[in-house]
């Protein structure tokens, strides 16, 4: 036991500063995302889910920390790796799973699938699957917020693979030029699908680009949800109070492949194990035990409850019928 403890990375300042309630909440919410996606993996293997399924496992602290930095009415604009954000925003787990199953009870009625989660009421504004093309949209949401003076902030996520493509550059150019209340967050998980950064980025520090867009920037290795919350909050406040955009680069890691079809052979086991040992969810769990004396049994009970919730969600999703045939004609045009 002692030997193991010595090898574990130290708990971070964010974890030390958080209250037990905050830790317990964040741990449970991260666990919900992970168990949801593990169920999705099983369902995919059984043929219940088809198409693309991009897992967020390993990156959950970002969605949870972001949610904690937001205010009612703020908007998340995410990529196709969007399940974590939807659950963090409070979207119904059954509706999320039913969407993966292509059922009528899905988050968008079964027409979107894994890559297009939207829930307007929860601040979940997508779910986009053409790399970079949501960056101008996010700038547009921020443009509207400024036009309407409604104080809403847009937080736009993109991957390290999205920084080279045109719309990213144009969206950020306009956000900087017009002083739009938006936060661009690059989730740098070190691989653009199967290609490591060294072969996709001329300069690995993505935030160096911020200067050219007239933006403030921030860059850090994600350790825990509270660190994400606190660092994002600075940018969210800057957007809301000064109407200025920020470019943030979060260094993170996905424990699974790019999608279900990717075994991730381009990464070494040592690299994966290194990141697993610093898994922000596991670190949060350790903080509950080491700093607050929470027992393994108590945390096991939390896990059991989450597993139960996600199993029920999966069963309920499976009970939801396929959309009726006429449903495909719906929402092609707005009829007045």
């Amino acid at each position: 036991m002692d030997g193991q403890t010595r090898d574990l990375p130290p708990l971070t300042e964010g974890l030390k500063a958080a209250s037990q309630d905050e830790l317990a909440h964040a741990f449970k919410e991260m666990l919900r995302i992970r168990r949801f996606e593990e169920n999705a993996t099983r369902a995919y293997t059984r043929g219940k889910i088809s198409g693309f399924l991009h897992l967020y496992i390993g990156q959950e602290a970002i969605a949870i920390g972001t949610n904690l930095a937001m205010r009612e009415g703020d908007r998340i604009v995410a990529t196709y790796r969007d399940h974590g954000f939807a659950l963090a925003q409070g979207c119904d787990a059954t509706a999320c799973m039913a969407e993966l199953f292509g059922r009528s009870g899905g988050l968008v009625g079964g027409v979107g699938g894994s890559m297009h989660f939207f829930d307007r009421e929860k601040g979940m504004w997508g779910g986009y699957a053409i790399i970079g093309n949501h960056v101008p949209l996010a700038a547009g949401h921020a443009f509207a917020a400024k036009y309407l003076s409604d104080g809403k902030v847009t937080i736009c996520f993109l991957g390290d693979g999205a920084v080279g493509i045109g719309p990213t550059h144009e969206g950020m150019t306009l956000a900087g030029l017009w002083g739009l209340p938006v936060v661009f967050v690059v989730e740098n998980n070190r691989y653009s699908m199967g290609t490591p950064l060294g072969r996709t980025l001329p300069v690995e520090d993505i935030t160096l680009r911020a200067q050219g867009y007239g933006m403030e920037s921030d860059r850090f290795e994600v350790t825990d949800p509270f660190q994400v919350r606190d660092r994002l909050k600075v940018a969210v406040d800057r957007a809301r109070e000064e109407s200025k955009p920020t470019l943030i680069e979060l260094l993170t890691y996905r424990f699974r492949g790019h999608s279900m079809s990717d075994p991730g052979k381009y990464r070494t086991k040592a690299e994966l194990d290194g990141f697993r040992s610093r898994d922000p969810m596991e670190m949060t769990r350790r903080a509950l035990i080491e700093l607050h004396g929470v027992t393994e049994d108590a945390l096991e009970a939390v896990d059991e409850a989450v597993i139960e919730e996600m199993d029920v969600a999966m069963a309920s999703a499976d009970a939801s019928p396929q959309p009726v045939p006429e449903h495909r004609f719906k929402n092609v045009y707005v009829e007045e």
Partner: protein
């Protein structure tokens, strides 16, 4: 009635809608201080200020996307492309975001907005600035597509397009901005999806829209001299398409010709012909013909460009051919 140029009718339509609805704004390259590359926004910056008449850098995918994102929040953007040729670099925004957002979000979001600007060949602009985008956009479910040929239609259809809850592609033409015509003094809208019979006739139906309307009317005059009574229908809207007007006319004349600014392969004209043969086969006395661009990139040289673009004389030949004359 006032006599206006098309550019003035477009300006008046935008101005009236901006006065009517605070959510309407105009965004594009040179729309503000320069007052539009083709002066379609003359006076608007002065009247509405920089909040609502917004000059952009040269970032078509950027400002098209900003427009869509703003429309999703309830604003009513008018996005001007200096030419639709430049919309090619915003194509993804239009077809993947504007056209699909309502459907792909299960109806939670929609994009009430207009993308407008000149389309198709003008005069000696070379291959990259002379393309017709009608077919590209009319192909996409989720978009509406309008093409105008007169000041009255330009104003009435643009006002309707701005109020439409869907994304509307609104085609104008560099060579038609100076075309004059009568425009009613009182407010009016023209419903999208209703064709206009420009000229009634008994012998042949001639379908046209946008720049091809003038060609069609010239050809109909030439045909009249030869004793052919041509019915000219300006479609005005390609999506929704006024199929009933087309079919009614073809069932009356039993013959049809399409004149189109656009390439022959898989185009709007090809679609119209397919629909006519599907619905009016028994009424047809001759194969339906199409007069359009030659299947080539546009040349700059004046003589070569002239040869590539449909001319009234060629339309006349087609009218005579379907009538078994000449």
């Amino acid at each position: 009635m006032a006599v206006l140029q098309i550019r003035e009718a477009i300006r008046d339509a935008m101005r009236e809608e901006m006065l009517r609805d605070d959510r309407v704004f105009l965004m594009g390259e040179e729309v503000g201080h320069y007052e539009g590359a083709y002066k379609c926004s003359q006076g608007l910056l002065k009247e509405f200020g920089e909040k609502r008449v917004i000059d952009t850098p040269i970032t078509e995918t950027g400002f098209a996307g900003v427009g869509i994102g703003a429309a999703m929040c309830g604003l009513r953007p008018i996005i001007e492309f200096m030419t639709f040729n430049f919309s090619a670099v915003a194509f993804d925004q239009i077809i993947n975001n504007a056209a699909k957002i309502h459907h792909m979000t299960g109806g939670q979001f929609h994009a009430p907005m207009v993308f407008r600007g000149p389309n198709a060949a003008a005069h000696m602009l070379g291959s990259t600035h002379s393309q017709a985008f009608d077919t590209f956009y009319a192909h996409i479910p989720g978009l509406k597509v309008v093409s105008v040929a007169t000041p009255k239609d330009a104003k009435g259809l643009l006002k309707a397009a701005i109020r439409d809850p869907n994304p509307v592609i609104f085609f104008e033409s560099e060579v038609q901005y100076g075309v004059k015509g009568e425009v009613p003094e009182e407010e009016y809208l023209i419903e999208l999806g209703v064709a206009d019979i420009k000229r009634e006739g008994a012998d042949v139906t001639l379908l046209c829209w946008g720049q091809s309307v003038a060609i069609a009317l010239s050809a109909a005059e030439l045909a009249q001299e030869k004793g052919l009574d041509v019915e000219v229908i300006d479609l005005r809207s390609l999506r929704p398409l006024d199929e009933q007007a087309i079919f009614d006319s073809v069932r009356k004349t039993n013959r049809a010709v399409v004149v189109e600014h656009g390439w022959p392969y898989g185009g709007v004209g090809s679609h119209l012909i397919a629909r006519i043969q599907e619905e009016c086969f028994d009424a047809l006395d001759a194969p339906v013909l199409k007069v359009c661009y030659e299947d080539l990139p546009m040349s700059y040289a004046e003589n070569l460009e002239h040869l590539t673009i449909p001319q009234p004389s060629q339309v006349l030949e087609a009218l005579e051919e379907v009538s078994y004359r000449g």
